[in-house]
């Protein structure tokens, strides 16, 4: 596969990595009052840049666009190499959106406001970096650098069990990524001995032509790192803990951006680098995907904590991405990528909703909630749309991706498709359960609860402002998926070119 590069006239990507970092530096010296406006400003610029890139991106042929390359450590052949294809670009755009939304949302952080926003800005830079790096050392640097701010966000601004959750999150991810590092270095060394070049560039690894045995080994090493991040069953146990304990904005980022890194890794690295191993492991991935979908859907139904339900539903949705990816055909991969984008919108919105409920009702437990819908109609509507989009109601974003993923899977394995398809019912089940228990169920409500709800204020302007972009995007993606599919199609074809030929 020869890859074309279109160099960036203006280094937009580097700028969008640097802006959050620069603003983080400014915040360090700025007064606490300015923290929020400045962060919103920074993330708004980044969002505008990425939106511009989204429209400026030429999707007619496959090329790495906005490409920049500078020498960094010539001694070991590491360069600073960034650029986007459609997959990276949509992920970067999603990242920018998610951060903008969570900054607008973060009004009621009471303690250490400055540090809170600094941590988020650093996190934003690292997240963007992960998706745009084509040099594996830089990729790894961003991948790991992201751990530090996320660890602090969960650990400092989280709820009661936050330290346990933060440490669990850190150690799990660190564990996986070190194996990822071993795999990458193994390939680097193999490349040096076989071809005599010192390079950590993605494009050199892609032409490596590993023997089958090594492909299997490296696939497994990398997959361990990605699977923990996705998270795939049975590596998912850090996720509910982290989600439940993280502050609302932290959960939003965790669900909308961080989980995507794992599936992004599978799509970006595992498929093109290890085509044979990918084919070999299809049954395993299908099995893990189906287990994730069904098992975590069942887990979700049996929870009573709102955030925990949404967290498990995330694992379940990621299962769809996994099977879609490993269907190894165009429909499946397109479906997987669309599901990733859609899950970015829906999970972000659902966690915002959970945060909203907690702020008003001071509880995440379903037994303390219920019957709220009548008193907060705007919020109830927003929540309902997000929940339906997440459940895969046609016309909203969730349906498109899951449908395509199932279609792709159906071509490969009917059994997998049927099992995964059945779980759509489970998905609808837990989403409706969540919504019903938290918003309706009026008849069972004691009168003092109703009195309490009557005093509730509906959404404030800034809350609405953070919900709206997500909800609008759910409609846009759900009603007009063709544009998105066109956008990612050439990229999917390029990624699959080694597997299905072409």
């Amino acid at each position: 596969m020869t890859v074309e590069f279109i160099n960036a006239g203006t280094p937009w990507i580097t700028i969008s990595i640097l802006i959050p970092l620069i603003f983080a530096g400014i915040l360090f010296f700025a007064s606490e009052r300015l923290a929020k406006p400045l962060s919103i400003f920074a993330s708004a610029i980044v969002f505008l840049i990425t939106t511009y890139m989204l429209f400026a991106y030429d999707y007619s042929t496959y090329a790495i666009q906005f490409y920049e390359k500078y020498e960094w450590i010539p001694q070991i052949g590491v360069n600073y190499e960034v650029g986007v294809d459609a997959l990276s670009l949509t992920m970067v755009w999603l990242t920018a959106l998610a951060f903008l939304v969570s900054f607008i949302w973060s009004t009621n952080i009471k303690k250490r406001i400055k540090e809170y926003f600094i941590a988020f800005l650093v996190l934003e830079a690292a997240c963007i970096g992960v998706f745009v790096s084509w040099d594996l050392v830089w990729f790894y640097i961003f991948w790991e650098a992201m751990l530090i701010p996320m660890f602090l966000i969960i650990g400092v601004w989280g709820y009661a069990e936050r330290i346990y959750a933060a440490t669990k999150f850190f150690i799990y991810t660190f564990f996986g990524s070190l194996f990822l590092l071993v795999g990458v270095i193994g390939m680097y060394v193999y490349q040096y001995f076989e071809k005599g070049i010192l390079s950590t560039s993605y494009f050199d690894f892609i032409q490596l032509g590993l023997p089958f045995k090594l492909e299997i080994i490296f696939f497994l090493l990398l997959a361990l790192g990605f699977a923990i991040k996705v998270p795939m069953w049975p590596f998912h146990t850090w996720l509910p803990a982290a989600h439940v304990q993280a502050p609302t904005a932290g959960s939003v980022i965790l669900a909308a951006v961080l989980l995507k890194m794992g599936t992004y890794g599978f799509v970006r690295f595992s498929l093109p680098w290890f085509p044979e191993a990918s084919k070999y492991f299809v049954p395993v991935m299908f099995a893990l995907g189906v287990i994730a979908i069904i098992y975590t859907a069942m887990m979700a139904i049996s929870q009573t904590h709102i955030k925990r339900i949404i967290a498990y539903s995330s694992v379940s949705h990621m299962g769809f991405v996994t099977i879609g990816t490993f269907a190894l055909n165009m429909e499946g991969l397109n479906g997987a990528i669309i599901t990733m984008i859609s899950h970015g919108f829906t999970s972000a919105a659902l966690f915002l909703a959970a945060g909203w409920i907690y702020e008003r009702a001071h509880s995440y437990e379903l037994k303390d909630l219920g019957g709220m819908a009548k008193f907060v109609p705007v919020f109830a509507t927003m929540f309902l749309i997000s929940a339906m989009a997440s459940a895969g109601l046609p016309g909203l974003s969730g349906f498109v991706g899951e449908f395509l993923a199932l279609l792709g899977t159906f071509k490969v394995s009917i059994l997998t498709a049927v099992l995964a398809g059945l779980s759509l019912i489970l998905g609808a089940g837990y989403t409706l359960y969540l919504y019903h228990k938290s918003m309706f169920k009026e008849s069972l409500l004691p009168p003092e609860k109703i009195a309490q709800w009557e005093k509730l204020k509906d959404m404030t302007f800034s809350e609405l402002l953070s919900f709206l972009p997500l909800v609008i995007m759910m409609f846009v993606l759900g009603l007009y998926p063709a544009w998105w599919i066109k956008l990612i199609e050439t990229t999917s074809a390029a990624i699959l070119s080694k597997i299905i030929g072409g």
Binding site: W72, I73, P74, Q75, I76, R112, E115, V137, Y140, I141, F142, E144, A145, L147, I148, F151, L152, G155, V156, R162, I163, A166, T167, F170, I171, F174, F175, L178, F179, L181, V182, I185, G186, Y188, V189, Y192
Partner: protein
Amino acid sequence: MSILEQLISGLTFPNLYILLPEIIVLLTAFIVFVLELLSKSKFSITIITTVGLILAFLSTSIIKEGGVTFYGLYLVDTFALLFKAFLIMGTLFVVINFRPYFDAKKSYYGEYYYLTLFALLGTMIMVSSPNLVTFYIGLELSAVATYILAGMFKRDYKSKEGAFKYLIIGGTGTAIISYAIAILYGRTGTFDTLEIAKQVNLNNLDYGVIGGLILLIIGLALKASAVPFHHWTPDAYEGAPTPITAFMATVAKIATYAIILRIMVEAFPFVSKEWALAWAILAALSMIIGNIIALKQENVKRMLAYSSIAHTGYIVAALAAPTGIGISALIFYSLIYLFMSVGAFITLSALEKTPGWTNHIDDFKGLAKKNPVVALAMLIFMFSMLGIPPTIGFMGKLNVFLALIGSNIWWLAIVLVVMSIISAGYYLRVVVYMYMYDPVKTSRHNLAPPEVVTIGIMAIVVLFFGIYPTFFYDISTTVTSLLIASIGR
């Protein structure tokens, strides 16, 4: 010509020009020594030491051309100069923090300064020795000075205990090394490393060489506190005054790594497989024991002592791959280790001035609230030691990884990975206590200007070179190629 004249004409005047850094350090030490007796003003001693060290540091850059002097007993090459520059710099950053710390501890003596300078001189002699005898002299000079320094808190039981342990075990170490040197001399008839290499090549291995090599490795491992020869380290590090611990953990350690590398590469290049295996085992043990015991420590200073054992493991693990990559990984890691370690220990020494501070992990509760800058710096040092990018510590580990996997030593690479994960347990704990708990004590932490400067510079270096490590790559690969070229000298 009389016999006397013949003798004199045979003498060559030592090339003092290349000895400039050593001369400056020695002169400063003597001046401080005399001044300490005559003058009441301790402040002038601080100033003179600082100025002397700065001059010595600058003088390393004046020397354009290295050379051998003292009849082949003293070698100044790029390797030696590079390490000297970093050793002097490390000492400088430690020494400027003596005054605030010892003032607060009410034991501000001039002895600290000249003893540190003598220890530094010893380490400088060590790194530029082409000869086992020169090495031994340097080692003893630095060791004896450090024994005294470790026990300078005369009324503190722990300090005395640590110093005593250090003296006994360190003395055993030097004894072992002297046996090793004697055996090697007996077998090869020379002290010169390159000559030994030739002899070992000619005669191949026999019991004499093997015995000497084993003893030498044991002695060096003891000095570098590799497991199972590490027992002095926790007590000596914990008991010693904290800036002295910083000195022992960085300057003395780094000189030891350098001389291990030099002796192994120069004297035994033809038996590299054998010593590589020995160092691999020592490295694996150090990583495993150091990290696991560090997990259980409640005292942060003691935890850092165990972490330094673990870091010895990471660093000598590079020797398991006796290739160019391995050597440059060792040089790279030892140089960057200086920054993180000085940073972490000086942070401790700055905090220790607070009344009631015991270095217990509970004392760190809520530090981020009370003193956000220090907490941030400590966070950077902890993550760097853990090896998380974008800190320089990650680059160090990355190189060791590269070397190990490049030489197909997967088992050690896996040990390194697993132990790095385990080390997250205790490094994160410090961060957790600083950031995620509320302060229990309300005492304020006052930082003296030198401490702020040191901690700040170290944190910036750790971050900046983590993003732009090219400089360190440059020097470590250059020095490596020169070192390898010198084998055939």
